[in-house]
Point group: C2
Chain length 220, copies 2
């Protein structure tokens, strides 16, 4: 079997990102209520959702806004309690249970493993290190936006052809479809926030977890 | 015995700040070396010291600079590993062993307990919450710079006279001397980074830890 260049997405592919973010928000809200955030848990969660929708992904400002909106004034004690609870939840993040074994088997077979992810580079490194996975990957590619050009750029940098590459991710629009356009073999894993999104025509194969990945790649 | 208004400094008064910061830096350096920082532990510590002296207190930029200086190029994997190790050390911070008991005894005696500290407000709250001490204090005063005007401002806000107040801290120049000028009774605790600094004429009393604080205050 020829050596393959295997590219993985991180979020909701290697670990349950959506679950963790919800749990981190819940723990933060509980910590803030215990320090004086003056509303119910459900109200606070709803307000936080609205702030997140309006403001994007910088959570510390979210908590600031939530406190100001709810209590009518700034209170850094409450904000600090929320941030600590949020980070403590993040400290407990772990990969999906099958991930470590699968990466080790692929690595032992002589495949080259890469990350191809979207986001802020240091934040993606932070996740890989906390997950204990950083040493399994030859290189990490981080794009501001995952599109066909990003996957073409990677292949050029690695001096490989599309047919030598496999891209695995949860999002048809970001992970499999643009990689497919760039000529890679693509596998969509159905889990996380985008589980219900259709991948019809946007991935070569769909799986529910990564357990059988070594066998699938063996047969390519 | 009359009720007193008792003000505490945080750093090196309630917990061994200097020790923790050194340990956090050491753990960060070890994590960075394990991810490819190309120098010895001692060299890295010395370089980090120099960067800290030159640049002030924003540690994430320190690690960035250290990696660039040492390896000749940016490497966010190494930086992320350093930041994680640094924060994990911070997560383990704990008060000096006698602190919790002393605060509880003072609180039970009906004294009002406050924090009077210098620094960035949210960072000081972060420490108090991680130390598990935030609920013992009626209010937290944070100054950009601790001087006589700061202590006078506190007394005005609390509507109390100097003779009803006690200020406890490790630094003669920041904690006891300016509070003394403002009319407070001052107690200097000799520990941490400034242990060897003389408090001659700059504090009413010197102690080595907080164990006997309730008795000292009883006799005022």
């Amino acid at each position: 079997m020829p050596q393959k260049y295997i590219f993985f997405d991180i979020d909701n592919t290697l670990f349950p990102t959506s679950q963790f973010l919800v749990r981190a928000d819940e723990n933060a809200i509980n910590a803030m209520i215990s320090r004086g955030l003056a509303c119910s848990f459900d109200d606070a969660m709803e307000r936080l959702r609205k702030i997140q929708e309006k403001k994007g992904s910088n959570y510390s400002k979210h908590f600031d806004l939530l406190v100001k909106e709810t209590n009518g004034r700034r209170d850094l004690k409450i904000v600090a309690a929320g941030i600590i609870a949020y980070h403590n939840t993040k400290n407990a993040m772990a990969p999906y249970p099958e991930v470590l074994g699968v990466l080790m088997r692929l690595h032992d077979k002589g495949h080259k493993l890469y990350i191809a992810t979207e986001g802020i580079e240091i934040k993606q490194w932070d996740k890989l290190i906390r997950l204990g996975l950083d040493m399994y990957f030859d290189k990490v590619y981080v794009a501001k936006q995952k599109n066909r050009a990003f996957y073409e750029h990677i292949m050029k940098r690695e001096k490989v052809a599309g047919k030598e590459c496999v891209m695995i991710g949860d999002r048809p629009d970001k992970d499999t479809w643009p990689a497919m356009l760039a000529g890679m073999y693509t596998i969509r894993v159905k889990r996380g926030k985008y589980e219900k999104e259709s991948a019809r025509g946007k991935a070569h194969k769909e799986i529910c977890d990564l357990r059988n990945l070594p066998e699938i790649i063996e047969k390519l």
